[in-house]
Symmetry: C2
Subunit: 378 residues, 2 copies
DNA sequence: CGCGCATCTGACAACGTTGTCCAGGCTCTA
DNA sequence: TAGAGCCTGGACAACGTTGTCAGATGCGCG
């Protein structure tokens, strides 16, 4: 559960009931500063009018207001007009919490991703949002910051909100905690990385194939000693890309030197050191395959300072890659397509057809811009 | 799997519990496709157990379960253990919708922004999320796509969800539609651009000052004919930056030629044309001030194809700006700080102190990298 | 041994909405 | 003009939770 660390308490105690006249007094005496939260009279949502208030004002029954609000048939134009006027006058807005409680559907879906600020996840998130919007649903999202515990906390908080469905970019590798939720009817789709230890829909890029193609591209340009810098192999995408690298090298009949590989390069400093190491010494690498966009950016910086030209292919496209000297050759994945595909799958689940869990793999695309076509330099 | 000893009270109007064997039957007979939504037995959230179910299984009262779930005092360890076991066994998760309805606080805040996929809003959104998280609240967000109508629709949908507060990056310029909501107690803070026609908190960058500094920087390097390419002036930030441009030029005693200015450059094609126009003809500009990150990127592309070196200063920082040739000089604003400041202000409102609406302006920072220091070339 | 008190527990109502169902008034037809 | 049927409107319960309050239990002390 999420814990409040400040005095803002979502779990507010109920204000003591105060009768109308006392309340008038309060209005005059209580300083402005205490008013916003504890405004009286009426209900706990400030002094928000309810359907009952609207009904009273319009001189109709409660259900008639509900009918008007929901555009249900069976209300004469005259009655409808009176209700509309009352709604207008009171500034009524339906309380969706109550509606949700009654109807059982929240018309919202949750998205658990790694980091909203990462340029890869922005478009993905946006794509999910668009699909949700097309289905009349809102998107609630949160970042796991690559922390499995936080991922779980977030996902379960979303389930407690009774989101209709969940799109998860996994940080952890054990998602059995979602089993009761899925059984209870929460549609669930994993994106970018597969779910751990449960059977669920998953949409991912062809990380293996993309990496293999990227490395093969370097091999085709004459490179033999090719470095690989990637994330921790416990992350599925990183492991797959590494596998692709190994496969391409093997296909070319090259035995990979352990010193050519750097795994778990999670921050710029480590990437920098890794790159510098494999570029120095005897038999330095003549090309580098960068395992993700953050690695690519750092490697570009290192190569910019390096005297000898070194070929580079990066996984994930980066903005302005074409404007650098040389342009950066990348294996691009389509973040928006990942998000869109996952969200669409989610809503297909929600439409009632219980589909067998499926693994959808989207192709990657090699974009040649120059850095990957440099010949080996000694 | 209801406990055999659990008995439903006579007062209980819930549908009669289906016993184990019947339930098994259902599972076998009902086709998979109808199951997810209409699963039996039980309530509308699939077959999600409620506190009542937990209470029955644990052989305690409803309120005792509530107490355990909320960590309230006054439950003997033994009772608590029994309840915990029942919760575990049933996979119970509290329904926050009902809780919200009862308590009046949703512990969630809404964020209406322009486009989640824009690299400027990712960090902003993330910062808001972090603050929300620190206060135990979830973030619901949506993109307005710069459409005022969609902004309103989104904001009001969030209000219907009874978010506790709203952070809005305005697309429109009339926010009176939020008045009833604010009166009803929805904390509201505007970011990046001020609210229109209502009095509310707003957090923004010093667009005017930043642009003036940026243009002054070009002037200091000897430029006289400086172009400005920006967004539609109906967007506050665009108008302010334009004002900064004009002020700097005026300070330098330069009369701005209308042909140096391009407003409403909303897509790359128009930016490109605008840039090409002001770079050609007699008396072309020798420097360009780009009004936002998207414009900057396009202008960089145009300049890359241009024979004569042209100085450039852009508003908003862009990734890899330092790696281009030359590095791109920018007026950087701190998106994360904007988001953080706004969210913190929001929660201060929620803590009960009703603060007078305030306008908070964050400074910008000029980052020199080369492109802004090029001398005028004829 | 009985009384009072503290501690623990549970019945009940309420939150604001929607689904069900019935009443009353209307129109239409025989 | 009466009866059937339709249309509109409203009373009521229910959704799952929490606040209130009173009842039950056990214990210590007079």
């Amino acid at each position: 559960m999420l814990d409040a660390t400040s005095s803002y308490k979502p779990t507010d105690r109920a204000p003591p009931p105060v009768d109308e006249s006392d309340e008038r007094q309060d209005r005059r005496i209580v300083p402005e500063t205490t008013r916003r939260a504890d405004r009286l009279p009426g209900n706990r949502y400030g002094n928000r009018p309810t359907m009952k208030d609207v009904a009273a004002r319009a001189g109709v029954g409660l259900k008639t207001v509900s009918r008007v609000v929901n555009g249900e048939p069976g209300v004469t134009p005259d009655t409808e007009r009176r209700v509309q006027e009352a709604i207008e006058a009171l500034g009524f807005r339906r309380n969706d919490s109550a509606r949700v409680l009654r109807k059982g559907r929240t018309a919202s879906i949750g998205l658990v991703l790694e980091d909203l600020a990462d340029p890869f996840y922005g478009p993905l998130s946006r794509a999910v949002e668009e699909v949700a919007r097309a289905h009349g649903a809102l998107l609630i999202n949160g970042s796991s910051a690559e922390d499995p515990e936080r991922e779980q906390e977030l996902a379960l908080a979303l389930c407690a909100r009774r989101v209709d469905g969940l799109v998860v970019i996994p940080a952890g590798d054990d998602h059995r905690y979602l089993e009761p939720e899925i059984r209870a009817g929460v549609a669930t789709v994993f994106v970018d990385r597969p779910a751990g230890r449960i059977d669920a829909d998953v949409v991912l890029s062809d990380n293996y194939g993309g990496a293999r193609d990227g490395v093969a591209h370097l091999l085709a340009h004459g490179h033999r000693r090719i470095g690989f810098i990637g994330d921790m192999p416990r992350i599925h995408t990183a492991a797959e890309r590494l596998r692709g690298y190994r496969a391409a090298m093997e296909d070319a009949g090259i035995t990979v030197d352990e010193r050519w590989m750097s795994l778990g390069a999670t921050n710029p400093q480590r990437v920098r050191r890794a790159a510098e190491e494999m570029l120095s010494g005897t038999d330095p690498v003549t090309a580098i395959f960068a395992g993700n966009n953050r690695v690519t950016v750092t490697v570009i910086r290192v190569l910019a300072e390096h005297s000898r030209p070194v070929a580079l292919v990066g996984f994930d496209d980066i903005e302005l890659a074409d404007l650098l000297q040389p342009g950066v050759t990348v294996v691009a994945q389509d973040a928006a397509a990942l998000g869109r595909t996952a969200a669409e799958r989610l809503f297909r689940q929600l439409e009632g057809t219980l589909l067998a869990p499926e693994r959808i793999e989207l192709p990657t695309r090699l974009i040649t811009r120059g850095s990957g076509e440099l010949p080996p330099a000694v």
